[in-house]
Symmetry: C2
Subunit: 552 residues, 2 copies
Amino acid sequence: MSKVIDFRTDPSKYRHWKVEYDGPVATVYMDVDENGGLFEGYQLKLNSYDLGVDIELADVVQRMRFEHPEVKTVVMKSAKDKVFCAGANIRMLGGAAHSHKVNFCKFTNETRNTFEAAEADSSQKWIAAVKGACAGGGYELALACNHIMLTDDSTSSVALPEVPLLAVLPGTGGLTRVTDKRKVRRDRADIFCSIEEGIKGKRAVEWRLVDEVVPNSKFDETVAERAREFAANSSKADVAQGITLGPIDRKIEADAVHYDLVEVEIDRDGRRATISIAGPGTDAPGSIDDVMAQGDQGYMLKLARELDDAILHLRLNEMELGLWVFRTQGDPEQVIAHEELLTANADNWLANEILQYWKRVLKRIDVTSRSLAALVEHGSCYAGVLAEILFAVDRSYMMEDEFEGDNRPTATITLSNSNFGLYPMGNDLSRLETRFLGEPESLEAARAAIGEALEAEAADEKGLVTMILDDIDWDDEIRIFMEERASFSPDAMTGMEANLRFAGPETMETRIFGRLTAWQNWIFNRPNAVGKDGALQRYGTGVRGDYNMERV
Amino acid sequence: MSKVIDFRTDPSKYRHWKVEYDGPVATVYMDVDENGGLFEGYQLKLNSYDLGVDIELADVVQRMRFEHPEVKTVVMKSAKDKVFCAGANIRMLGGAAHSHKVNFCKFTNETRNTFEAAEADSSQKWIAAVKGACAGGGYELALACNHIMLTDDSTSSVALPEVPLLAVLPGTGGLTRVTDKRKVRRDRADIFCSIEEGIKGKRAVEWRLVDEVVPNSKFDETVAERAREFAANSSKADVAQGITLGPIDRKIEADAVHYDLVEVEIDRDGRRATISIAGPGTDAPGSIDDVMAQGDQGYMLKLARELDDAILHLRLNEMELGLWVFRTQGDPEQVIAHEELLTANADNWLANEILQYWKRVLKRIDVTSRSLAALVEHGSCYAGVLAEILFAVDRSYMMEDEFEGDNRPTATITLSNSNFGLYPMGNDLSRLETRFLGEPESLEAARAAIGEALEAEAADEKGLVTMILDDIDWDDEIRIFMEERASFSPDAMTGMEANLRFAGPETMETRIFGRLTAWQNWIFNRPNAVGKDGALQRYGTGVRGDYNMERV
């Protein structure tokens, strides 16, 4: 492992973003430090971004919700003249390994989705105030905002020039948001995605590419007015003060990552990571006021943050660990109690934010391109929100009956109300709904068992686990499964899992991770884009890519 | 161009299939001729298939609907001992160019879809009667049938061994039909797709992989019984006699393909094919009886067949023609009249079959991986079913006002009722509905214009064309568009078009062509599958592929 990419940051460390707070309106300035790239070999000119820039942005969005719940409208602007954002840095893309490129795109996609989630979940609306060139990933940033304002001058336009310029796709949701969110007529979208210079002025509004175009002389004033308007009309409750998200304690060793509640154990030969989650260890706080007082140290929030960080760390820094195995140990009743305090107070802003954050963490698991398994061992605490992990993984194995020398409480699974819709997948169904698409009666049977601590046989009978195993079979079966999984082609696993995990309806979100990402990955492997005479390598030389013209 | 792949065939030429007719029940036997491969270098052992086998199968399905409308249930069986079908031939796949592989998969996917369409559109139900090994593409064939019967013996199973055995996906709809059609629980699907040997007996039913498992001794008898039952309960009307689909007249020249109603002109330097469609040239038949009497010589059916053949020919034999330009010339009122006779008699079996065939031909255009444009010139006949082409293509250009020296009737577009739902896309919406997803009022305005011959300005105002151009701009604009399109990376075009064409809801069908196909194409470019040490190349050597274990 070379340099470890760290997803933990805070405003004191930002190099690329500045945030100003003014009551219910916040302004986020993109001001990328050319020399602040995460790796060597490229400069982040013209507000172009790499993963490092996006890690900070993700932090901005996250803190906006937890630390600044008073904010109802967020305006995204550029702090640079003449350019809003030039998109992902091309030299970085040209030099990056396929695996980095794809995982980078996944993270940026997840971050874009959080803009929309902020409004959907917390009525915190993001506005893009576009002055200057807004191209490729830059326009994709704007597309993720729910209101796009474009200034009307000679240099300001929105553009998706990837196809003509780089022979790749606007792959961070661009194509999908154009058709599915903005509902641009497809022949117009075809033109828009084929012209390098983009579209500006009234035509951008007429084609639904932006929401309003404003004379340059009145732009700042109109943006401020619009932000105040949205804030005034927001359904977001007034909140005086947020909580502080302190640093996440983490210790990385050669074959382990330690947090307070999460332990990651790495088996490099076996190509797997075991992610162990600890239960609360304490009773639930007595009231929602106590949750507020605990802030980032409360169990539910602390665990979500640690798990989120572990996922991102493993994704980007440990690419050869193709199998993640989840374990839990703790008291299931305590997990239920901690969760229940939040669900019972979901109208409290912090309770809501914590639950919504869990939704996002669980979605991150869903779209993680690793084989995922869960072990339901004796002493485990797969209850409520943690039971959700069982329905996110590809397979789960549960201990049945007594195991010799094992005195831990018998393995159980406990469902809560929250397993039936509180944490929907990207397809907008609950994981159990997706699981039981072909057998709705099983969904009802599971619902009837809410609150029961289901031992192996009952859990199996209800279809909640893949397989139950007794003391005689457990070790061998698990070992064989892990060895088998580690022997398969990682690419085939990625493709298989991307197809099996999301049955049922598709949404803009599943389409971005499924259809758009898959085509982009394909193109990222084709000589026309990445070959030595391909468009990405030739970018900036003034010479177009040399293409094999065969259509496939 | 080497060998031309011919999609035209008829039972007298079949090498791989036999069909028996017995009143309302037909039996289709797969009996692949080992030595009948379309190309050199492989033998079609164990009922494995290549494109040639599938071309015959597509012909079987098509003739079943037109020539044998009396058939209500079709039973698909193997004529070989111990094997139902081993799937796509691996050596063929290992040796084929990427472009051939992908276009082959697209055609087989379209053919599988016609099984389901036969029941949905014409109540002609397909049953798979599985005896012996049914693996990979073999099980995908069965999955496309709407009832799967499996014999209960020691060697008969269903399997999708692509992932463990070949490091590729069950890409002919397999993964998607398992999750979305059969709604197999995802962890079971994960296991099923990871084991080479497949699943048999009761477990196959319990896991929803097959509909029934029958003791071997009673298998044939039970299959016959079930076929009769389905036929007896079918809602398909009794029809005494079908029509004959005679040979399609076609003449291929170096840079042209001639049919009676369709002309294809090839510009190799410009990398485009111009597909010109002729109007009927005659009044519509006086009655549906006349349509029956005309048989395969009636305008609507003849044109559909010629256009279908041209599409397939260009797709597989002319891969460097990245742009298809559609033209029409003829009397729009005649087109409307010919179509209207069918829609007014849609309860007549033949009228229904012709209209449903048009639906499939238009869908073939939608999923064609070429840039598609249409020119609405003076003298053209984009009316009703032919207007649908305008909404299938990526862009359309329409002549406005008089053109010097052009005495043809002014260019118009005429909508009919059929443009509002009769020919849905794979996403189950009409093309106009998809086009106007963001502006439902435009859909209503278009509907209000049914029957009007809309000249350029009106068509533009209604959003039915991309651009209208007068005599001064026409030539230049069209030329610039074509040159630009021909200069782009074909891969980027493929990815862009696959994302822009299908806004709105996704269905099993769009998911197969969008998500599943894209992941498969990606895998088909990865060394783990196709490299010299990849699984496809090593297949049959007893040595597994040597994989780069990095996850992307």
